[in-house]
Symmetry: C2
Subunit: 357 residues, 2 copies
Amino acid sequence: MLKPGATVGILGGGQLARMLATAGARLGLKSHVFSPVADDPAFDVCAARTCADFLDEAALAAFAESVDVVTYEFENVPARTAEVLEAHRPVRPNPKVLALTQDRLIEKQFMRGLGVATADFVDVCDVDSLARAVARLGRPAILKTRRFGYDGKGQARIGEGVDLTQALASLGAVPAILEGFVPFSKEVSVVAARGLDGDFRAYDICENVHEHHILATTIAPAAIADETAQAAIDMTRRIAEAADYVGVIAVEMFVVPEAQGERLIVNEIAPRVHNSGHWTLDGAVTSQFEQHMRAIAGMPLGATRRHGSQVVMRNLIGADADKWAEILADDGACLHLYGKKESRPGRKMGHVTRVFP
Amino acid sequence: MLKPGATVGILGGGQLARMLATAGARLGLKSHVFSPVADDPAFDVCAARTCADFLDEAALAAFAESVDVVTYEFENVPARTAEVLEAHRPVRPNPKVLALTQDRLIEKQFMRGLGVATADFVDVCDVDSLARAVARLGRPAILKTRRFGYDGKGQARIGEGVDLTQALASLGAVPAILEGFVPFSKEVSVVAARGLDGDFRAYDICENVHEHHILATTIAPAAIADETAQAAIDMTRRIAEAADYVGVIAVEMFVVPEAQGERLIVNEIAPRVHNSGHWTLDGAVTSQFEQHMRAIAGMPLGATRRHGSQVVMRNLIGADADKWAEILADDGACLHLYGKKESRPGRKMGHVTRVFP
C-alpha cells in the first residue's frame, strides 16, 4: 500500500487527470502529470509536470522513476508507452486491459468468452466481408472502427439503402466490426472499482442520455429493476476479475425490454474513471476519482453510498459552458469547469451536478 | 465578476490554502500560492507558486500583478503585506478586517459597538492594570494576549491563588486583555459567507468540542434551539455587514444556559475558512472552500444545504494521522490528509468526516 506523501503518475492531462489529481490530494498523495499538451488542465493542480510526447522514451523513464505508481486517464495509451513505464513502476490498471479495450473486436471476443452478452458482431476488413456481415446481421446495423472510436466518432449506421463501399470509406478504410442493431430502451452504465486486494464495489447503476453521440445527462440511480441492476453489477465484476483489474472501471450497457423483464447487452468497457461517474463527486460518499486513486495506491476502497434520492449530472459541451454565471446562480447546482482554454463544438468543458434531497 | 480561467492569489500555503486551491479548480479558477515555506502543502495543487517572505515587497508586487484577486488563509497577515498587495489588486476579505481580528481588544470593542454580546473584558498592560481587572471581573478569568493567539496559545487562566505577575510573564509581558469567565455549556460556530453583492448565506450552526485547546470534533447541526441558531446567524450577518466583509467568515460562540433558554456570547471572529467548516467538503452542497472562492471572485454564493441527518468531523492531530490506513478501511469515513511532511504533537495533519444518512 502506498503511503500518504507518495506520488501517482498520471498519463494524460485532461479533465479526468485533473479530477484524479485533486482527489489524490485529499488522500495526501501527490500527482505527477505527463501530457504532450502544454496547457492541459491537469497541469494546474499537480505537484509535478512532464510535458513530452507519449513516445518519448527518455521522458517516460524519468517520469516513471519519479513516481510510485502510474495510471492513465484514457485507454488509447500506446502499447510501447505502457511497456516502457512498466519496466520501472507498476502501471494500474494493468496494460493488458489497454490492449483489450483499444480494439472493439478483441473487447467483444473477451466478453463473449466470459459469457457476457454483447451485440452480435462480425469482423470487417473490406467491402466483401462487410457485405457478408450485413447479410448475416441484417439492416440496420452499426459499422465501427476497431480502434480509436469515441463520442460517436468512427461509426456509420448501415440503414436501408446505405452504400457499403461509401460507408466503409467514411471510416477511412481501417479494420472495423459490424454490430447488429440492439433495440434498447435505455443506456446505463456501471461505474465500479476493484482494489489491489480484489475487493469490488459498484456505485448505483446510472442511466445515460446521449445527444449527438456525446453523453449529455446521467441520472443516478437508473430506473431499472433490482434484478437488472444486480445482473449489471455481476457482469462488471466478472469483467474486472477476468482482467485482473485494479482501479475504477466503467461498463456501458444497453437495456433491452423483453416480454418478461429486461435484458442487458454490454456495449463498451472503459478502463478508467468515466464521464457517467462524475455525479459521484458531489453525490456519493467517495468520488470515483478518489476511489480510483485508492485502488491504484493499494488502499482500501471507499463507501459508494449515494447522497440524496437522486443525482443528475449534465455535461457542458462547447458553448454550454458559456452559461457558467447562470449556472452558478442556480441554487443547488454544483458547477465543475475543467479549465480548458479553448471552447470547441463537441468539446467537454465542464459539468453540472444536482443532488436531490 | 471574475471569469473562469482567472487566477486567485492565496497568501499562505497550509491546508486551508490547499483546500481553497482545489475548490477553485472546480470552478475553473487557477491558484497562485504565496508562502515563505518551500514544502508547504498548497504548493502541490496550484498552478503557480511564489516562495518568498511576507515582507518581500518586490515578490508581493510581482505576485499581485500575476493574479486577479488576492485572499488569505490566515488572519495574521502583516498590515504592510496587505497594503502592498492592495496597491495592485483587490484583497478580499478587505484588510480592515485583518486589523480587527488581529487584536482581541479591537475585535471585542467592534462587537460591543454592534451590540453583539461578548465576555466582559478589560484592557491589560501591566500587573497593576491586571490586578484592577481581576478585582473587577473576579476569578476565574482568562488572560489572553491581544495578538497572535491561536489553539489556546497566549492564554493563562487566572484561577484562585494564581500569581498575577507570573501569569502575565507567562504570556511574555505583551499587551493583553482579561476576559470574564463564561459558564458555557457548548461551543458553537457559524460558518457563513457574504458575497460581493451583499448576499449572505450561513451553513448549519455546528457544535465544536475542543481537546487541549485545539478543535477535536465538529458536529453539524448543533443541538441548540432554533431561536438560538437564528440569533447566531443574525449576529454573524451583522458582523459581516459592519465589516463590509466578502468571503467566508467564521464566528465562534459560547452557548450559556439560562433559566429560560440559551444566551450566546461571541468568542472570536476568523476572517477566513475555518476548521469548524471542514465538514462542508463532504457534507454540504457547496463546500466552505468553494463558497469562499465564489465570494472573493464576485460570483454568486452556492447552496449551503447539508447532506444527511448529521455530519461529524474529527481532526487528526499529530500522531492521529498515523492511523490513516485504519481510517481508509472504515466504511463511510471520508479521510482528508493535508500532505504535511512532518508530524508534530498539536499539528493538524488531516481530518475525517462522516455523513450520516
